[in-house]
Symmetry: C2
Subunit: 337 residues, 2 copies
């Protein structure tokens, strides 16, 4: 049973349902426009732990437990976990998941991880290898700044194009026998590198990958932008979103009316001093599993495309003069088949 | 079509073939017992690049090109790439794969990556989502030492239980319509952490995960150790292998006669001063895609289990007093159905 259509897209013969989600936001995220959608908002960056890294581990552990509880399931009901994060060697996922005892696939897709995990989770269900898949990711502003940029105590200035790593986590449980929202198509991205090497302009570095995957999605499926109520990107932020919508327009796809970006939605860009908007695996993770999933269930959206983007460098490659490779993965989700 | 048997294992209704492999070894690996099996052996650690990191990127790029050439395929023939490595944010895979333009799934499984990638690559074929999957990984002694331990120039002493990160890479191309060797079963591991926190005893930290997955494999399938000509672990080394075989014996599974370990095979343990043996993603990668695949094709082995193990910490978690979570993934491979 060949489920492929076109070069990069699969159409699920038996669409996979998103059974339940859970979403946690940090303190700052809980002061933003989406505060009502998080299942829990943290009071501080430590959450009772003695390091930011341990707080991020707790984010993934708790968001997983919360999703299980909301779905009235236990870890034993899950066939596979798909998880990853920004920390070196993806330790937030590994330490969080060691307590659940579920067969585990570790992923690294940077900020594309939420959609990468749901793509593989859905494919394993669609192929008869998994009954229920758990897909999750996280990021933490403090652990990310410490690892990728400067010590927080240094109080470094940020450029206007810089994005603010979201403290948050999202978890989705997928099943083959649910009643929707349904994952109907997955378009998996190629690595695209247009030569941008400015770590403070990640949106700009990731936008060409988003253009590449979105174009492939329309070509493979024959869909047009107006087939979607919402075309949601992960964390291109203000600058990357403008590049995406303009480049898509040049290619003949008008996504201005129905495009939005998790990095623009999660913060009040002007009031919360986050420069070009939110970023991090937890940005798409917490926004999709919070705001978007709940609005899908309410009927606000009937048919959406969610496309998470990731910047795939590390600090060493940039110091050695390399540019930033990026990727974008997309999933079409509908509430009615 | 439910392809699951037991809690952690799938049995492929249509076994997936390993169409072709390629393997590259570093200079030291090319002086070891398996030197004749590498498709290429490096003359030095830089391979014409100006950093070890760039040399590792070249390892993955070239091993992929080599596998394509041996299989008489181009990148366009591959549906998906599954790749990962030990570098922070898995940059060896990302920078290598940006030139191929193939839909990409980034993985992090530490030294279990070769089997994690082949597991997902095979499942996507078995589910009708992929026609051909490319699965690859790498490691580099110098880039790994620099990142995880000490500057090489420091010349630090090593403990006898320490393992030597392999400089090497392996790539396997899987297909749904080949003539074998066939991947028939996949047992996917859970994260196991028995409290070992000594970074210089990775074999000891990983052995309990290997015991867990191997036991699950036998329980799920009903197979016994004697059903396999070879039970091959990824890189438990001398110490971890002894722990695995002893613990399995305590559980009633005698794998002494047919167990071997890539980390023990790739070096002459006594002569090459590698302490407890080889490790790194490239250990299982280059040994499986070199020695093992070629001996399967020759008929030396008819039925093997390959189980790669990974240690899932990073330097920060260990500095913060955490222990080492580990994982092991296993694939059953046969030359005749």
């Amino acid at each position: 049973m060949d489920q492929r259509i076109g070069k990069q897209t699969v159409k699920f013969e038996n669409p996979v349902s998103i059974l339940e989600t859970a979403s946690i936001g940090g303190k700052k995220e809980g002061e933003g426009p989406l505060k009502a959608y998080f299942d829990q908002v943290l009071k501080d960056d430590y959450w009772g732990e003695d390091s930011w890294e341990k707080a991020e581990i707790k984010l993934q552990r708790e968001v997983a437990n919360m999703a299980l509880a909301k779905a009235k399931l236990t870890a034993q009901d899950i066939s596979y976990v798909f998880a990853g994060d920004l920390m070196n060697q993806c330790v937030s996922s590994h330490y969080a998941m060691r307590e659940l005892g579920i067969p585990f696939f570790g992923l690294y897709g940077a900020c594309s991880t939420m959609v990468e995990s749901m793509t593989l989770g859905a494919m394993l269900i669609g192929g008869g290898f998994s009954e229920k898949s758990m897909c999750l990711t996280s990021s933490h502003f403090c652990s990310a700044e410490k690892q990728f940029r400067f010590p927080l105590e240094y109080g470094g200035q940020r450029t206007p194009s810089a994005q603010w790593t979201v403290t948050g986590a999202g978890c989705a449980i997928l099943t083959g026998d649910g009643s929707g929202p349904f994952i109907t198509h997955a378009t998996t991205g190629k690595i695209v590198d247009m030569g941008i090497s400015d770590l403070n302009n990640m949106g700009g570095a990731m936008a060409p990958a988003a253009v590449d995957t979105l174009t492939a999605h329309f070509e493979d499926t024959g869909f047009s932008p107006s087939d979607y109520d919402l075309i949601l990107t992960g964390d291109l932020g203000v600058i990357g979103s403008d590049i995406l919508t303009d480049l898509m327009n040049q290619k003949g796809y008008n996504i201005y009316p129905n495009h939005n970006d998790c990095g623009k939605m999660i913060f009040d860009i002007k009031e919360q001093d986050v420069h070009a908007g939110g970023s991090g695996c937890g940005c798409c993770g917490s926004v999709f599993c919070g705001n978007i999933y709940k609005e899908l269930k309410k009927g606000t959206y009937k048919r959406i495309l969610v496309m998470a983007t990731g910047a795939l460098m590390n600090t060493i490659t940039i110091q050695q003069g390399e540019s930033i490779p990026a990727i974008a993965h997309a999933l079409a989700i509908t509430t009615e088949l």
